[in-house]
Amino acid sequence: MSDLSPAVEEETESEQPEIPEASVEMLHGSAVTSAAGQTVLHPTKDGYHDLVQTLKDEGYGVCIDLCGADYLGNETRSLPITISGERFELVVNLLDVHGSRRIRIRLQVSEADPVVATITDIHPGAEAMEREANDMFGLEFEGHPDPSPILLPDDWQGHPLRKDFSLGRIPVQFKAVDGR
C-alpha cells in the first residue's frame, strides 16, 4: 500500500530499553510502523491535529473511520519505542481516493486526561464517529460542534466499550417518566 519501509524496531511496552530515537522511522514528526502491510502513524497528542491536516493536504482527504480502543489488560501491544502506551487509543483510518491508498493513525490517550482535539474542522464526516467514541469510551473531543450522545440515551451512565464496564451486570436504565 505504501513504499514506507516497515523495518522499525518494536518493543513491548513492559520493557523500556535505552535506544536512541533516531532508530525509529518518522513521517511528519510521527513514528511509523507497519501492521499486516498497513502503514500506521503514532503521533503525540499535540501533533495529532496538525498531522491530520498535513495528511489531508497530502491527499488523504477522507476520514473513513474513527474509533476508540481500550487496552486495559492487554500487554501484547507493540508500539515504537518513542511512544509510551496509554490505556486508550484513538484510531483514525484515512483514505486517499485519488491515489487509492490508506493510512492509519493510532493516538495514545490517557485515562486521566481523555481529551483530544477534534478533527471535525478538517473532516466534517468525523462528527458522528467522534460522538460514538465519546459514548463508548468517554474520549472527549475539544471543539466538537455537537458533543451529545449518539447511540446511547442522553442520560446513560458509563461507557459500555470500556473493558471495566462489565457485561455481567448491565443495569437496565430507563428514562424517567414524569408522573404520567
Partner: protein, 418 residues
C-alpha cells in the same frame, strides 16, 4: 477549504439535544414561523427506527438531525465475548439486508491477522455469494424506495425478485438471512448440487424484470418528478462527509473498492462502475438499478470461472477436521471439540479491512491480544456515516421530499446502531 466553509455556513445540521427537541416539538415560533417536528422513530418510511428531528418553515425543511441509537444492542461489545469462529453469527446481524458482506469483512480481518491463505474456490464462492447478495439488497432498495414514493406495485415486484435470490441462499446456507456462511478460513459449506442451474434460472428471469422496472419507473414522468433534482449533493461534500457507495458514485465520482483496491478476485472479472451525474435521488435510484445488471455480469463470470478444490483452508489450526475423520480418530474428535469450544488463537496485532458493500465502504477494525476472542472489533458501517449527508441533502427542500431523500440513502438501521 471552500467545501468545508460551504458545509459549515449552510447551517443544515440541527444541533439540539433530544430533550430540547421534545420540548419544542410541534410548537410554532411566532416570530419566524419555524417549527420543530420529530419524524419517527416509528414511521413507515424510516426503514426501521430512524428518527429525524426537523426544523420546518411552512413546508420547507431548514435544519435537521438524524437521531439514532434506537436499535443499539452493543454488538461490538458482544463481539469481544465471542470466539473468532462465533464472530460471524454476530456481525451478520448488523446489515440484515446484505449480511454476507459483514461476514466477509470480518473474516478478511481475522485472516489478515492469522496470515492464512484462502483456497481459490472459497474466494470465488465468496465473490459469487456477495454479488448475489448485492442484487438482493438492491432489489430490496427498489422495493422500499418505490413504496416510500407511492409506487406500491413496485414494492411487491422488488420483494418477489429478492425472494428468488433468498431461496438460493437458503439452499446454500440453510438460512434466508443472517447466514453465518462466510467464516474465517473459507466458507461454511460447498455449493450444493445443481447450483449452476439455480442461478441460471435467476439470471434468465431478472433482465426481463429489470426492463419492466424501467418501464414502470425509470421513464415515468411522475417518478422523475419526484426524484430528479431532489436531495442534491456534490462530490466534494460527499467526500468531506465520508459518504461512500452509491451516494458518492451518484455525484459522478467513480469510487468503488472492487476496482480501486481490489479484494477477493475482483481484479479478474469484468464489470463497470455505474456513476451518476447530478448527485440527486434519481441518480442514486438509477445507480442501484444498474448495479444489479453489473452484479449479474460478475455472477455469470463466477459461474464460468469457478475453480475446483477445497472450499475452506486446509490449515488445521483454523479449520475443523473433516467429518469422516472424527469417526476414526480420537485426536480429530478432540481437535474438533477444541475448535468449537475454546476457539483458535489469533496472533496479537491490529488490522483494518474493507469491502464494498451495497451501501458503501464496510470496514472492520480488529485488535487481537493473542487470545481466542477479539480484544476489540469495530465495524465501520457505511449507513452510519452516510446518514450524515441527510441534513445537507434535505436542506431547503420540501417535507414531502424528505421521504425520498431518506429512502435514497438506503440506511439499514441494524448497521447504523449496531
Amino acid at each position: 477549504m471552500t467545501t468545508l466553509d460551504h458545509l459549515r455556513n449552510r447551517d443544515a445540521v440541527l444541533r439540539m439535544s433530544e430533550s430540547e427537541a421534545e420540548e419544542r416539538a410541534s410548537v410554532v415560533d411566532p416570530d419566524d414561523e419555524r417549527m420543530i417536528i420529530n419524524m419517527g422513530p416509528q414511521h413507515p418510511s424510516t426503514h426501521g427506527v430512524l428518527r429525524v428531528t426537523m426544523e420546518l418553515q411552512g413546508e420547507t425543511v431548514l435544519r435537521s438531525k438524524p437521531v439514532i441509537g434506537y436499535l443499539h444492542t452493543g454488538m461490538e461489545k458482544t463481539a469481544e465475548d465471542l470466539t473468532y469462529l462465533q464472530g460471524p453469527t454476530n456481525v451478520t446481524r448488523m446489515d440484515y439486508a446484505a449480511p454476507l458482506f459483514t461476514e466477509l469483512t470480518f473474516s478478511l480481518a481475522v485472516e489478515a491477522l492469522l496470515e492464512v491463505e484462502i483456497p481459490e474456490r472459497a474466494t470465488w464462492i465468496r465473490m459469487l455469494m456477495c454479488e448475489l447478495n448485492r442484487m438482493s439488497s438492491h432489489l430490496l432498495f427498489l422495493a422500499t424506495n418505490a413504496m416510500d414514493l407511492g409506487a406500491v406495485g413496485m414494492m411487491i415486484y422488488g420483494w418477489r425478485e429478492r425472494e428468488e435470490v433468498l431461496r438460493f441462499f437458503e439452499k446454500v446456507t440453510g438460512l434466508r438471512m443472517n447466514h453465518n456462511y462466510i467464516r474465517p478460513g473459507g466458507v461454511a459449506a460447498d455449493l450444493p448440487d445443481g447450483w449452476r442451474e439455480d442461478i441460471q434460472k435467476i439470471l434468465e428471469v431478472l433482465p426481463e424484470r429489470l426492463e419492466q422496472f424501467d418501464v414502470l419507473m425509470t421513464g415515468q414522468p411522475i417518478w422523475r418528478e419526484r426524484t430528479q433534482g431532489i436531495g442534491v449533493i456534490t462530490t466534494e461534500e460527499a467526500l468531506a462527509l465520508g459518504a461512500t457507495g452509491p451516494i458518492l458514485r451518484s455525484t459522478g465520482f467513480a469510487w468503488d473498492l472492487r476496482r480501486a483496491m481490489p479484494y477477493l478476485a475482483y481484479d479478474q472479472v469484468d464489470f463497470d462502475i455505474v456513476v451518476g451525474t447530478y448527485g440527486d435521488t434519481f441518480d442514486r435510484y438509477a445507480i442501484r438499478l444498474n448495479e444489479i445488471r453489473e452484479s449479474m455480469r460478475i455472477v455469470e463470470q463466477c459461474i464460468e470461472m469457478m475453480p475446483d478444490g477445497p472450499y475452506r483452508t486446509e490449515d488445521r489450526k483454523v479449520t475443523p477436521p473433516p467429518r469422516a475423520r472424527i469417526d476414526e480418530s480420537m485426536e480429530a474428535l478432540i481437535h474438533h471439540f477444541k475448535i468449537f469450544t475454546e476457539g483458535f488463537k489469533v496472533p496479537s496485532g491490529e488490522v483494518y479491512t474493507s469491502v464494498e458493500s451495497p451501501r458503501g465502504e464496510l470496514g472492520c477494525y480488529l485488535i487481537s491480544d493473542g487470545g481466542p476472542k477479539p480484544q476489540r472489533m469495530h465495524i465501520r458501517a457505511p449507513s452510519f456515516v452516510n446518514l450524515q449527508t441527510l441534513p445537507h441533502m434535505m436542506h431547503g427542500g420540501l417535507l414531502a421530499d424528505a421521504i425520498a431523500v431518506i429512502s435514497s440513502i438506503d440506511p439499514i438501521m441494524g448497521e447504523v446502531d449496531r
